[in-house]
Amino acid sequence: MSIEVNGNVFETDEEGYLATLSDWSPDIAAAMANEDDCDLGDNHWEVINFLRNYYEEYQIAPAVRVLTKAIGKKLGADKGNSKYLYELFPYGPAKQACKYAGLPKPTGCV
């Protein structure tokens, strides 16, 4: 599979995750979200940027429980809960947000 953004074609896996991490750009995230009928706002970007930083530091995509807890620590308890994250990313915060962030699919419970 692949995704076309601004005339460039980028390879993805069969579930739409970007094949090459370094291909990522905010435009790719927006295009992926567009395919899911999701409009990315500041609250989405907060989570996407958090995931990119987490991956850069630990080289893994966090499981959803870990993500929820870490978001709460960093952005406040009103954002570190499943309800808030599922409203932003209805396909599952770890799964969907990781995809937009250009990360591989998280290991384990997503």
Binding site: Y58, Q59, I60, P62, A63, R65, K69, T107, G108, C109
Partner: protein
């Protein structure tokens, strides 16, 4: 092995003591990476988890790993994420450390150094031992 008695009032009493034992070098075989993935996935079940590094498994925790020439991913930064998964009981075997000329300052994460006798005692207390 102790018999587990279910106690619905106290979920912590239901947690099994699970120990993962890493004995192999980080690269060259898939064991180390697979073990880490099992630990990360297993962390979701909120059991009483500990991870032991001994023999060449010690090298998995070595700082400044560079896998460029091997053309495989350096997954060692993920050991630092264990804390965010609430996997906090990390042990290294003293004898293995000494044999390889390593001290705790050479390692990526804070660990407790135990003698092989102390590790054997810890193993005795576990419900499950998983060797990698």
């Amino acid at each position: 092995m102790n018999e587990i008695v279910e106690d619905a009032e106290n979920p912590e009493a239901n947690a099994k003591k699970i120990m993962y034992i890493n004995r192999r070098a980080p690269y060259g075989t898939i064991y180390a990476l697979e073990a880490l993935e099992v630990v990360l996935i297993g962390a979701m079940f909120e059991q009483d988890v500990s991870v032991v590094f001994m023999d060449d498994g010690i090298f998995q925790l070595k700082k400044n790993q560079d896998t460029l020439a091997l053309d495989v991913k350096n997954f060692s930064p993920a050991f630092r994420a264990l804390e965010t998964y609430e996997v906090e009981k990390l042990y290294v075997e003293k004898e293995s450390m000494q044999a390889r000329g390593l001290s705790c300052e050479d390692l990526l994460v804070p660990v407790l150094e135990l003698s092989s006798i102390e590790i054997a005692e810890l193993m005795e207390q576990q419900d499950v031992l998983l060797n990698f």
